[in-house]
Symmetry: C2
Subunit: 211 residues, 2 copies
DNA sequence: GGTTCCCTTGACTGGACGGTCAAGGCAGTA
DNA sequence: TACTGCCTTGACCGTCCAGTCAAGGGAACC
C-alpha cells in the first residue's frame, strides 16, 4: 500500500499478463482510431476485450497513459524499422529515398497509428510528447540531408523543414489510404509519395520552358 | 411551436444577433483549437463569451453542428481566396505556384482552423463532411495540373495524388508554425513549402550524379 | 494443505456534460 | 402604453464516464 504498488510502474507481469496487456493495447488502438479517442470509453475497450473494468486499471494507470504509450511505442517502432532499412546504404540521397519509402510502407501497415498521431497532434496534452518523437525523426533525417547538401547533391535548404515536408506528404497520403479499401494495393500511392518527396528535396529543375 | 422554430434553421437574426453568433464562432474556434474539441464544453464557450448557456442553443442546434459549420465556412473561405488569387493567371504552372502560396498564407493566418481540420479528419463523424470539401479542393487543383501535364510542362502523374501531397506539406508545415511564436514571420516556412511542392510537382531532375 | 501473489470481477461514486425550458428583459413599433 | 418577437438567463435533467475498491479465483511454490 504505497506508491510502489501504483499501476503504471512497470509491474512484474507473467506471460499471461504480458499477453493481456498487449491485447488491450491492440484493441484500444483499433477503437481509438475508428471512433476517436474521446468518444471511446474505457468501458468500450474492456467490453471489446471481454474482461472486467478493473483489468484495464491493473495494466494502465489511466486512459490517457494508454494513448501516450501507444503513441510512444509506435513512433519507436517506426524509427527502428527506418534505421534498419538505411543501415547498409552509403549514398545519402539513396538513404533518403529508402527511408521515405520504408516509413511510408510502415505507415500503410499501421494506419490506425497514423490516425492516432494525427489526432494527438491537435491536443496539447498529447502533442508535447509527440513533438519529442518528431524532433528525433527530423534529426535522423537531417543527417543525410546535411551530407547531401554539403556534397552539392541537393540544393541548399533547411533540413528540418525538408524533413517535416516529407512527414506531411507521407502522413497525408497515408490518411487517404485509410478511407480506401484496406485490402487494395498501397504501392501506387507509396510510389507517388516517394516521387513527390524526392522531387521536393532534389529541387525543381531550373526551368521547364513552356512548349 | 413547430420545426419552423428549430434552432439551426437559418433563423431571422438582427444585427445584434449576427454579431453574437459571429462572436460564438470566433471564441469556440479558439477554444476548440487550443484545448481540443471534446475537452472544451459548451459551458466553457459560453463562459468565455460571457453569456448564459441558452444563448448557445439559440444560435446553434448542437455543439457538433457548430464545429461542422466552422469547418465548412473555413474551407469555403480558403477556396474563395485561392480562386481569386489565380483568376488572372494564364500559365498553369504559375497558377499552381500562386495557388499553393496563397493557400499556405491563408493557413498561416488561420492556424486554429488548420488545427480543427486536422482533428476533424481523425473522427469519422466530421471527416465525411471534410472529405467533400477536400475533394473539391483537389478537383480545383486538378484542372491546371491536367493542363500542365497535357502541355508536357510537368511529368505524367495522378493529379489527385499531387494535390493531396501539396495539402499534406502545407498543412503539416503550418502545424509546425502553430507551436512557434505567433508573431514570428512565417515567410521562410511558406517559401520552403512552395519550393518543396513545386519540386514535387515538376519532378526530380533525371539524375544528379554523385560528385 | 497452506501461502503468496498475479489477475479478475463488477457494483459503485462523484462529477461533468450536452441539452432543455419556463421565465423574463429589452428593442422596436404602433 | 401595449404588443410583438428577438434575445438572454441559469437552474435543472438524464446520462455517461473515468476511476475505485472490496472481494474472490487460481496458479505456482512450499
Amino acid at each position: 500500500m504505497e506508491t510502489s504498488d501504483a499501476p503504471t510502474e512497470d509491474r512484474r507481469l507473467t506471460a499471461r499478463g504480458e499477453e493481456r496487456r498487449r491485447q488491450i493495447v491492440e484493441v484500444a488502438t483499433r477503437l481509438f482510431a475508428k471512433d476517436g479517442y474521446h468518444p471511446t470509453s474505457v468501458a468500450d475497450v474492456v467490453e471489446a476485450v471481454g474482461v472486467g473494468k478493473g483489468v484495464f486499471y491493473w495494466y494502465f494507470p489511466s486512459k490517457e497513459a494508454l494513448l501516450a504509450e501507444i503513441l510512444r511505442s509506435g513512433q519507436k517502432a517506426r524509427r527502428r524499422v527506418q534505421r534498419d532499412a538505411i543501415a547498409g546504404i552509403a549514398d545519402p540521397v539513396e538513404q533518403m529515398e529508402r527511408g521515405i519509402r520504408t516509413g511510408m510502407e510502415w505507415m500503410a501497415d499501421h494506419r490506425d497509428l497514423v490516425t492516432l498521431v494525427r489526432f494527438a497532434a491537435t491536443e496539447e496534452r498529447f502533442s508535447e510528447g509527440l513533438r519529442k518523437g518528431e524532433d528525433i525523426a527530423a534529426a535522423d533525417a537531417a543527417a543525410p540531408l546535411r551530407r547531401a547538401i554539403d556534397e552539392g547533391r541537393i540544393p541548399e535548404a533547411d533540413p528540418d523543414l525538408l524533413a517535416r515536408s516529407v512527414v506531411g506528404v507521407t502522413q497525408h497520403l497515408c490518411a487517404s489510404l485509410i478511407h480506401a479499401d484496406p485490402d487494395s494495393d498501397p504501392t501506387p500511392v507509396i510510389d507517388a509519395a516517394v516521387r513527390f518527396c524526392m522531387g521536393g528535396i532534389l529541387g525543381a529543375p531550373a526551368a521547364t520552358t513552356p512548349a
